[in-house]
């Protein structure tokens, strides 16, 4: 399909040429883009505009907190990261090639202040490397604008800890966020993701548990209004023993909204003692809410504990009756219930703004 063709020939930057298995990178990427597995990830969203936009001119994100001691921001990158993935993120790798620069944040000591990244448009790729035992609070806000894209790789050295909060609450015509996180032994990563649908918003999240006893949590709340779309593709790979992962994703879809969630858990051979949980709940608010949710499990080892659930429902009639039986009218009761549904997944430093946008209410998060 012509859809999944890179817009122009890639010039592979020198530093990327050392990427293992890259061979002739343009061909490898073209192949990855058209593999059946990758096409499946684009089943419900038209890929063409996203693939085409990988070569759009990029600007720097606005970053604060980068001048603290222990933090270094570079306008270049020296070598590929182990988390770079040609198979799953070919568009993101292509973007690395099209970018004139890649920003690198090296965190070598626990920072007092959070690092805040604001994306006011189509921003350059970023690599964030967190050194062993270091903890970091990372705050990311997207105000995407037209055809904006972000691609970020986070590398957690052993026992590093990252609290990542991310809001994408704007109403861009089209917006793509690619996030790849690789955790080494004993590292902890938490993402609080708050998102609205927009013209067409796509979030690819790839978390790789690449060391023993790593721990990852993903909590996401999304609201998709009429005429808006959100497509979330999450892959969580357990490559090493005794990792723990927990994903809780709640999306509420208005009449005429469209939401896709594809949550794949891949437990590799040898990842014994893994505990992986994923719960995706969708609330449709009308007959014409489109919801696609696909749980995928690939388990190649015994001795794992894994739960994976996806539900699509409407507001609970029992809960609605309970609230209305206390004098609250139907519209208000439905409002409380849908807010409550999202609030269960709103937390962290960006919770207030998320509450205001997603539930129309200021107040305490769950």
């Amino acid at each position: 399909m012509a859809d999944l063709t890179l817009p122009t020939t890639l010039a592979v930057p020198e530093w990327l040429a050392t990427l293992p298995d890259s061979g002739a990178l343009p061909e490898v990427l073209e192949q990855a883009l058209n593999s059946p597995a990758h096409r499946e990830r684009w089943k419900y969203t038209k890929p063409a505009p996203f693939v085409a936009a990988t070569q759009h001119p990029m600007i720097d994100p606005q970053i604060s907190g980068e001048t603290q001691s222990g933090v270094v921001l570079r306008q270049s990158i020296d070598a590929p990261l182990a988390g770079f993935d040609l198979e799953q993120g070919p568009e993101a790798i292509a973007r690395l090639c099209y970018a004139d620069r890649v920003l690198t944040l090296d965190i070598s000591a626990s920072a007092n202040e959070p690092i805040v990244i604001n994306h006011a448009g189509n921003t350059r790729p970023m690599v964030i490397r967190v050194a062993a035992g270091v903890s970091l609070t990372l705050i990311e806000n997207a105000n995407a604008g037209d055809n904006a894209q972000q691609s970020i790789w986070i590398e957690l050295a052993p026992n590093a800890q990252v609290q990542h909060s991310r809001n994408a609450l704007d109403d861009a015509p089209s917006h793509w966020q690619y996030l790849n996180v690789r955790l080494q032994a004993g590292a902890h990563y938490q993402l609080n993701n708050h998102v609205t649908g927009c013209g067409s918003r796509r979030q690819d999240i790839h978390i790789i548990m690449d060391g023993q006893g790593a721990d990852a949590t993903l909590v996401s709340a999304g609201k998709i209004e009429r005429g808006k779309a959100l497509d979330q593709q999450v892959t969580l790979e357990h490559r090493q023993p005794r990792g723990q992962s927990k994903q809780t994703v709640h999306n509420i879809v208005a009449n005429g909204g469209k939401c896709t969630f594809n949550g794949r858990i891949h437990i590799h051979e040898g990842a014994a003692g893994t505990n992986a949980q994923l719960s995706n709940k969708n609330l449709g608010m009308g007959e014409h809410a489109t919801i696609n949710t696909k749980p995928e499990l690939e388990i190649y080892t015994d001795d794992v504990s894994c739960s994976h659930g996806a539900t699509v429902g409407t507001i609970s009639q029992d809960a609605l009756f309970y609230l209305t039986s206390r004098g609250i009218d139907r519209t208000d009761a439905e409002g409380l219930l849908s807010q409550g549904f999202l609030r269960q997944c709103i937390d962290g430093p960006l919770a207030d703004q998320a509450l205001a946008t997603l539930t129309g209410k200021a107040g305490e998060a769950a």
């Binding site: 009639q317 039986s325 004098g327």
Partner: protein
């Protein structure tokens, strides 16, 4: 003057196999200041009566009337019945994660105040009142921040229902097995709550299986509901008789 009047009520539950008649000509009259206990075997229609009066979806009224303060109930939405002064303490209160008890109670009293044309109570006053009520029912005030009934024990859920009864001050309280699953201390706390609510202006319909509750909340009338109809009415001594003899002698 009648507070709650139910006359010859026939109602069905909607099941996958069609409508199944449950209430088969039920008549009940509650005047202000009265407490009526309704007893009866499992499946006789006690919860159905409470649900039909409160307007729970899933039931149809086939014939008959029900009024609260002489206003027809059956054609109203559940929230309108509540605004008219009806309150149902649920046999199985639902858990609603994400909606805090505080927020829920505030929405409720604000809605009821608006319906009465009163001003919405000031938040600080309301919080204080809720905290005091919670304490009086042995509910840890920390529960107010939690989701509605979320993670509550069976007994806590029932006490929360009584807390709402005292906060909302309805004209008529329908209590569906509020005593079930309570330990003896909690039973006293709940009974004490109901007695605090009782006044010359309001009424209580108490659905229960146990005469024990009636030692604490003394009813003016006891009715036996069987197969969708009231088949016997009497005073408190009827409950004692039922305790001794069961229901078989009546049917």
């Amino acid at each position: 003057m009648s507070l709650l009047n139910v006359t010859d009520l026939h109602a069905s539950v909607i099941t996958d196999d069609g409508a199944q008649p449950i209430l088969k000509g039920l008549t009940l009259n509650v005047r202000p200041g009265e407490v009526h206990a309704i007893m009866g075997p499992n499946g006789s229609g006690k919860s159905t009566l409470a649900n039909v009066l409160a307007g729970r979806p899933g039931y149809t009224v086939d014939s008959g009337t029900a009024t609260l303060t002489e206003r027809g109930l059956l054609e109203l939405e559940p929230f309108e019945r509540a605004q008219l002064g009806l309150f149902l303490a649920f046999q199985y209160p639902v858990e609603i994660p994400g909606v805090s008890n505080m927020e829920f109670l505030k929405a409720s009293i604000d809605s009821l105040a608006r319906a009465r044309g009163d001003e919405q109570p000031n938040t600080a006053t309301y919080m204080k009142q809720v905290r005091e009520l919670a304490a009086s029912l042995d509910l840890d005030p920390a529960f107010l921040k939690r989701g509605v009934n979320e993670g509550f024990s069976g007994g806590e859920k029932k006490r929360n229902e009584i807390m709402q009864l005292l906060l909302l001050q309805p004209k008529l309280a329908l209590l569906d097995e509020t005593d079930s699953g309570l330990d003896i201390d909690a039973l006293k706390v709940v009974a004490e709550g109901v007695n605090r609510y009782r006044s010359a202006n309001n009424g209580v319909v108490l659905i229960t299986h146990y005469q024990r509750l009636l030692d604490y909340i003394v009813p003016d009338f006891v009715h036996v509901l069987s197969n969708g109809k009231i088949i016997e009415s009497g005073d408190k001594s009827l409950a004692l008789e039922l305790e001794a003899k069961g229901y078989a002698w009546l049917t």
